[in-house]
Symmetry: C2
Subunit: 318 residues, 2 copies
């Protein structure tokens, strides 16, 4: 019980996840409104856009305009996503984002082939070039990431030794290029994790690499998101990706209507109630979640925005 961390950090990925996934079109100004609302919540990491080919992801055609339109709040790290040098250059050209690199491997070869048209070996080769690209542009590389670390809709269960091998491969890649990995992100890309597999995978990685800071990227497609986050907290994980109102979903996961990331405000609610600091004002975040529903024009999966926070109830009762 006392294993729970005193504080956690949340990377808000709702804008990027949501605008990428929603059928839209969503007016650029509304996207900016949502990011600005999130900036007022105390969230200090907000991923605002994905610099990808608008032919593949039409919802991101206005990524540059969104990044230029938001109001930058002091202390907030605004980040973006890209899949190649062209995208990275757009992120750098914005001059408004914190640009850091990551070394990303995928535990499932079938997913990798479907998603990026690469084998596992080709993906490792590609990472060499990506790291060199970051070094060319003086972009620090601090994060490793393993997609589909808990299972894959196309390959099935992922054995723990596979995850451990990928962690080592990322660390070897980093060492070979003289960069230092600060955080290793384990992503449940297709929502195969349960609290028990979170414990097992996180436990195995932590046992082998006790000094590596671990992060979790959780999807809620099968309703396990918050339970998995709790299992992560019990294992001492202190960094979580999350999406306001549960925006998003993985367009490549083969699910229509798949639920998105674990919902930020539900995670913040749980942490608040368990005495874990997030630095986030839940009431402001609930307002942003309701705005997210307005912006996308349909209900989103978040629960606390419907059920209401307990802090608000306690204040009314006091």
């Amino acid at each position: 019980m006392s294993d729970l961390p005193k504080s956690i950090r949340i990377n808000e990925e709702g804008p990027r996840e949501g605008f990428q996934f929603e059928r839209g079109p969503i007016p650029t100004a509304r996207k900016i409104d949502l990011v600005d609302a999130l900036s007022r919540t105390g969230l200090d990491h907000i991923q605002v856009a994905s610099f990808v080919n608008p032919k593949n992801v039409p919802g991101m055609a206005d990524a540059d305009d969104v990044v230029q339109g938001i109001t930058l709040h002091p202390g907030v790290h605004y980040t973006g996503l890209w899949l190649n040098e062209k995208g990275l250059l757009r992120a750098l050209a914005s001059k408004r984002l914190e640009v850091t690199g990551s070394i990303s491997l995928t535990a499932s070869e079938k997913f990798l082939i479907r998603n990026q048209n690469r084998t596992l070996a080709e993906n490792i080769e590609a990472q060499h070039r990506i790291i060199e690209m970051y070094k060319d542009h003086e972009v620090p590389v601090e994060r490793g990431s393993i997609m589909a670390a808990f299972g894959c809709n196309f390959e099935g269960d992922i054995p723990i030794p596979t995850v451990l091998r990928l962690v080592q491969t990322i660390l070897d890649l980093a060492a070979e290029h003289g960069v230092g990995i600060k955080v290793m992100n384990l992503a449940d890309t297709m929502a195969w994790a349960t609290p028990l597999s979170i414990r097992r995978v996180v436990g195995a990685v932590r046992e082998r690499y006790p000094d590596l800071e671990l992060a979790l990227h959780l999807h809620d497609t099968r309703g396990m998101g918050i339970a998995n986050a709790y299992a992560g907290l019990e294992m001492g994980v202190r960094i979580f990706d999350a999406a306001v109102a549960g925006l998003g979903g993985c367009p490549f996961a083969g699910h229509k209507g798949a639920a998105g990331n674990v919902c930020t405000e539900d995670l913040v609610f749980m942490c608040d109630e368990m005495g874990i600091e997030t630095g986030i004002d839940l009431e402001a975040l609930l307002e942003a979640a309701r705005l997210a529903e307005e912006v996308v024009g349909h209900p989103l999966p978040g629960s606390v925005m419907k059920g209401g926070s307990l802090k608000a109830l306690r204040a009314k009762l006091a």
Copy 2:
């Protein structure tokens, strides 16, 4: 990690919770269809109706017809709910239900007054009469229940000593009347629990009463249902109330659109994936969940029925 129980028992309360809560009207034949579908899943405890005044709960006006219309499956315990002797007599008269009594106290006096127009002291007095009523009709009393054990929308947080005192009161009441309590149900009636409070309250009750079998009744209004169930599993809880597709909600809880009980098939999915036996066929249960959506005529909160089970995916990949 090894604290998880080998098997659990689920009391399916979806029909009773759902038909009570839904605006309806739902045709009696459709209610029977849903109970019959649930009877084919391996669920062995199904609460099918509430024998209450139809003026207060119009959705239960056909309770007797539902009970007479369902096909009784061998090995399944069909149960009902009632609030007074009239209701109990209807349950007994059906001759189709397993009728057992419970001693039920509520941790929040404000909720009790609002819900039943009784003070805590009056409620304890009422339990004496209720136990006598059960004895008069030779109905065994085996279960204690504490409503609002984790918090109340009208009273706020519930201190753990209050819960412990109520457990003792129930045991004293039982002893005074010569009946034996086998299971003590802790109900998170208004969704105030978090995994940490589940651990604390269950832990405190278990420490004081190590031989008492504990059950959890969890609501998902704030998205914590499955995480709370997991925390209960970690504490060795082996009996859970749940509702197929997440049917239901508490009409007295002061929330419009409040989510209902923890969703049965999401709970079964989590247990399946963690190696905990439930005796339930998840695919059959998912069919029942989809039928529940059809029967009530609107989407219900269950996730696995939308995201799909992993067993089905594994079978396709094999």
